[in-house]
């Protein structure tokens, strides 16, 4: 019998391509110059997160199912900044949102 070669293929989804959206119990509130993310009383997190207009844009994208790659791509089209900086900032914000369990993934 010849050697049996098992070729095992692993399929991974890159983290950047995982779909996510804002959990239903989180509300976005826009003030004149800042955006607030406010959880309803039912959420585990009871604080408030505030950020600037970019934070607001990311939250707007997260109202619907979206991937991290798509968020980065959208912001790169809008802002004149290097992709690696945008990518770094998006990851930071998404990590903060994960910490307060604001994302459904």
């Amino acid at each position: 019998m010849g050697d049996i070669i098992f070729l095992i293929l692993f399929f991974y989804t890159r983290k950047e391509d995982l779909h996510m959206k804002l959990r239903n119990e989180f509300l976005i509130h826009q003030n004149e110059s800042e955006t607030l993310l406010v959880p309803a009383g039912s959420a585990e997190f009871s604080g408030i997160i505030k950020g600037n207009a970019t934070f607001g844009e990311i939250l707007s994208l997260l109202k619907d199912d979206v991937t991290e790659s798509k968020i980065i791509e959208t912001l790169c089209k809008e802002y004149d900044a290097p992709e690696e900086i945008i990518s770094r900032d998006v990851k930071k914000i998404l990590d903060s949102l994960r910490q307060v369990k604001a994302l459904e993934e």
Binding site: N24, E25, L27, H29, N31, E32, S33, E34, L36, V38, P39, A40, G41, S42, S46, I48, K50
Partner: protein, 234 residues
């Protein structure tokens, strides 16, 4: 037990297992047609027991909290919300001091009482209701008025909200609604229901049309009251 009460102009018929809420709300009894109904169950009591400090309270008190929570959930439907503060009426106008528990808002309210004497009537020293109209706001007494039971079943047009912080000297400045907003939100009852929460945020927005906002750094000297009164009463 059942009773009907009017709080911040809203009439609610309350059905409970124990009498705690009905004792708290004695000053708010009314005979009007209810706007809505609030009834409690043992599950509601257990929910309140699961909250921080809940295991130290008896069932009757926990049930009273449950009733107040049910009322607070519905109040945004009537343009009102529960706001954690000390609320005073001076010459018929409402002024509130907001701060996290233990900062000194009740102490500061007491300094105002000493300074202003009979011109001042306590609205509520803990959890009044605020009704926010398009271009005016009103602060109302409620059954939950703090451990010293300071409050009355009255209301007054809300003139100013002051965020209080401890300081070594006394200094007050007027701030924008936007700057005050995150703090206001932290002192506001946040409904479990998302659409009630959205209404609450919109009501807080409305306050910018008729209310002035201040930030006061103060110590516990009587001068602190003069500083805040002179600024807020302009």
């Amino acid at each position: 037990m059942t009773g009907t009460y009017t709080i911040a102009g809203v009439t609610v018929n309350v059905s409970t297992i124990y009498d705690g809420f009905h004792i708290f709300a004695g000053d708010y009894v009314s005979g009007g047609e209810p706007d809505f109904f609030a009834a409690t169950s043992h599950d509601d009591i257990e929910f309140e027991r699961s909250q921080p400090g809940g295991d130290l309270c008896d069932d009757s008190y926990l049930e009273a909290l449950a009733v107040f929570r049910k009322i607070s959930e519905r109040m945004p439907d009537y343009d009102s919300f529960l706001f954690h503060c000390s609320a005073l009426s001076v010459d018929g106008f409402g002024y509130v001091f907001a701060a996290p528990s233990g900062t000194g808002k009740s102490t500061h309210a007491a300094l105002w009482r000493k300074l202003l004497g009979e011109r001042l009537v306590m609205v509520n020293d803990d959890k009044p209701m605020i009704r926010a109209g398009i271009d005016s706001a009103e602060v109302y007494g409620s059954p939950f008025n703090g451990k010293h039971n300071l409050g009355n079943n009255i209301h007054a047009p809300l003139r100013a909200v002051c965020i209080l912080r401890r300081g070594e000297s006394n200094h007050i400045e007027e701030i924008t609604h936007e700057k005050a907003y995150p703090f206001l939100l932290r002192q506001t009852y946040r409904p479990y229901d998302k659409s009630s929460l959205a209404k609450t945020l919109a009501l807080l927005d409305r306050l910018k049309n008729s209310v002035r906002f201040y930030e006061l750094h103060c110590n516990m000297n009587p001068d602190a009251a003069k500083v805040s009164w002179e600024a807020m009463s302009q």
